[in-house]
């Protein structure tokens, strides 16, 4: 269907549309100086790139000699927000129970949403002498 027929179907005529006032529907009157034509040949351009600052490096905590007899906290980041996203951590817990029964695992759910911190939980884990943390799962 061409435009004229479509407009007729809608009860409009092209002239009606053409005459409709609009404010500020104007074409540029002149080529702005900021887009003046280039001369031929080589062009010198400013560099758009920003120089990012590198982060101060922070070392990781020392690793464990062994997991034997250690307590690992499996912390659910509550990615979905409904307390129903700890399936992978439960499967990890089951794996430890079957394959490394001397590793104690504790599942915890982080408070707040997935972008908020939960410093109280980190302190709780430290106070309870937690030896390691698996933080998951996000994506």
């Amino acid at each position: 269907m061409d435009r004229r027929n479509m407009l007729a179907l809608l009860g409009l005529g092209p002239a009606l549309v053409a005459d409709t006032p609009s404010f500020a529907r104007t074409a540029p009157k002149t080529t702005p100086e900021s887009a003046a034509p280039l001369t031929s040949g080589l062009v010198t351009s400013l560099n758009p790139a920003v120089t990012p600052k590198l982060a101060t490096r922070i070392p990781l905590a020392p690793r464990l000699d062994t997991l034997d007899g250690k307590t690992i906290y499996l912390v659910d980041t509550d990615w979905g927000g409904m307390g129903q996203n700890d399936g992978i951590l439960q499967e990890m817990q089951a794996w430890f129970a079957e394959h490394a029964p001397r590793v104690k695992t504790v599942i915890k759910v982080k408070k707040g949403n997935f972008v908020t911190d939960d410093p109280a939980l980190w302190k709780e884990i430290a106070d309870a002498k937690g030896d390691g943390v698996v933080l998951g799962v996000a994506g």
């Binding site: 500020a24 540029p28 400013l46 990012p52 600052k53 982060a55 990781l60 509550d78 982080k110 933080l135």
Partner: protein, 445 residues
């Protein structure tokens, strides 16, 4: 996730292993580590998707391979705790700064520069205006601010330090095709970085209010949402370039939007048709506490953009169809973009003599089931935890049977109205865009 793992490692000395999908892993061990956290957190990669999968599938993930190392998943977890630290993982202090980007690029042909700009991810993959010194100098005459003034330092995603100057914004404004008179608007928008990103299809919307609209010939009338006006198009495009170049958004490196959003080409850049507002309807910026004579730009963030399709029918008042369509939105926020003719009908015929009266009615009348409400992952991930902490109404809503109908827009102040259009059809859009920030354009003149 890297920040939390980093806090556990740094503050308490507890070794941590983070488990995540490939996007979080890529960001965590890549750009986020280099520019933000400074801590090389040990990750294991979980296949995607994991949310919504039955336990039987999750079990195969645990029994399968870590997508980072390729080792068996649980072997990789054990290694994360026990493998001795490398020298790189023990590193502390400030790394040597990378060499600053030169102000000028080596002289080259325009064709080669166009190619370079695309190769560097500095464009939206449409041709740009090459920012020569002359063009940038002309752009800088659009503001009283000095070229070397730092607009913002924490400009990257998650506040990564990417300091940029007024001149750098002028470079991007030239590339987008801007005139110098647009430059204060573009600077105001640049001052709002970082813009929100997500693996979801998040997008931005730009609404300009005040005298600047007419000064720079923005279109608030006929075809305002389409490609029909220089200022609307070019200012919107400028934000796309600012997002990519200044904020450093690079799909697959610093951002991972699975589908992304076509609105990101132009960021829905419009002006409100203040002259066509019904008598007691205030412009957006006045509702926000600014003077009518202030020139302001407001950046919205959202996902959805639903058109009324047809015009207002005699037998179904416009607010009724708005109510119906808004029931498919998340309920966290809404912005109605409506033609002045719709605003007139709502005000003069339906009795909504102010924008807040319409928002109040919609707040009371939009409904959806509790299951549908919590089925939206943005709602559940952001508001579900609040409900878990006892905050109402979310705590009560979490306990409801799934088929119970709730009023998701429980806060009428989360519903906004912008009047725009040319009065050739009584049409409107229901969107879930929420205003993030309003910035004075006058401050950047």
């Amino acid at each position: 996730m890297s920040r939390e793992a980093g806090e556990i490692e740094q503050k308490y000395g507890i070794p941590t292993v983070a488990a995540a999908g490939s996007n979080v892993v890529s960001f965590g061990i890549g750009a986020n580590f280099i520019y933000n956290t400074g801590m090389p957190i040990r990750y294991v990669g979980v296949p995607f998707p994991f949310s919504g999968q039955p336990r039987s599938v999750l079990k195969t993930y645990i029994e399968g391979k870590d997508t980072v190392s390729g080792k068996p998943m649980m072997q990789a977890v054990l290694d994360g705790f026990t493998r001795p630290l490398t020298d790189a993982e023990k590193m502390s202090g400030s790394p040597p700064e990378s060499a600053p980007e030169p102000r000028l690029l080596p002289a080259d042909t325009e064709d080669n520069l166009q190619r370079l700009f695309k190769d560097k991810c500095w464009t939206d993959y449409n041709p740009v205006i090459i920012p020569t010194e002359e063009r940038v100098a002309a752009m800088l005459r659009g503001t009283s601010h000095k070229p070397d003034e730092i607009v913002k330092s924490a400009a990257g995603t998650f506040g990564t330090r990417r300091p940029f100057t007024v001149e750098k914004v002028a470079v991007l404004a030239v590339m987008a095709g801007a005139k110098p008179e647009y430059f204060p608007v573009i600077l105001a928008l640049a001052s709002m970085v970082p813009y929100q990103d997500s693996t979801t299809s998040i997008a931005q919307m730009i609404v300009v209010n005040g005298p600047i609209r007419k000064e720079i010939d923005m279109n608030a009338g006929l075809g305002a949402l389409g490609p029909n006006n220089d200022a609307n198009s070019v200012i919107g495009r400028s934000v796309t370039l600012i997002h990519k170049v200044i904020q450093g958004y690079d799909e697959g490196v610093t951002g991972f939007a699975s589908l992304s959003n076509p609105l990101r080409y132009d960021n829905l850049c419009i002006a409100e048709n203040e002259e066509a507002l019904p008598e007691r309807w205030q412009p957006l910026h006045v509702q926000m506490g600014h003077k009518p004579t202030d020139s302001m730009v407001t950046m919205f963030t959202g996902w959805n953009f639903i058109n009324s399709t047809g015009w207002v029918e005699q037998h179904y008042a416009p607010q009724l169809l708005m109510r119906d369509y808004m029931s498919s939105l998340s309920g966290m926020s809404a912005t109605l973009l409506m033609d002045p003719s719709v605003a007139e009908l709502l005000s003069n015929v339906q009795g909504f003599t102010t924008k807040p009266l319409l928002a109040e009615w919609l707040s009371q009348n939009v409904e959806k089931t509790a299951a549908s409400y919590w089925g939206n992952a943005i709602v559940s991930s952001m508001l579900g935890p609040l409900g878990a902490q006892g905050l109402e109404p979310y705590a009560s809503w979490k306990k409801l049977p799934g088929d119970t109908r709730i009023k998701p827009f429980n806060n009428p102040k989360s519903i906004h109205v912008v009047v725009v259009g040319g009065k050739t059809a009584s049409v409107w859009f229901a969107t879930d865009f929420m205003p993030e920030k309003s910035v004075s354009i006058d401050a950047w003149r």
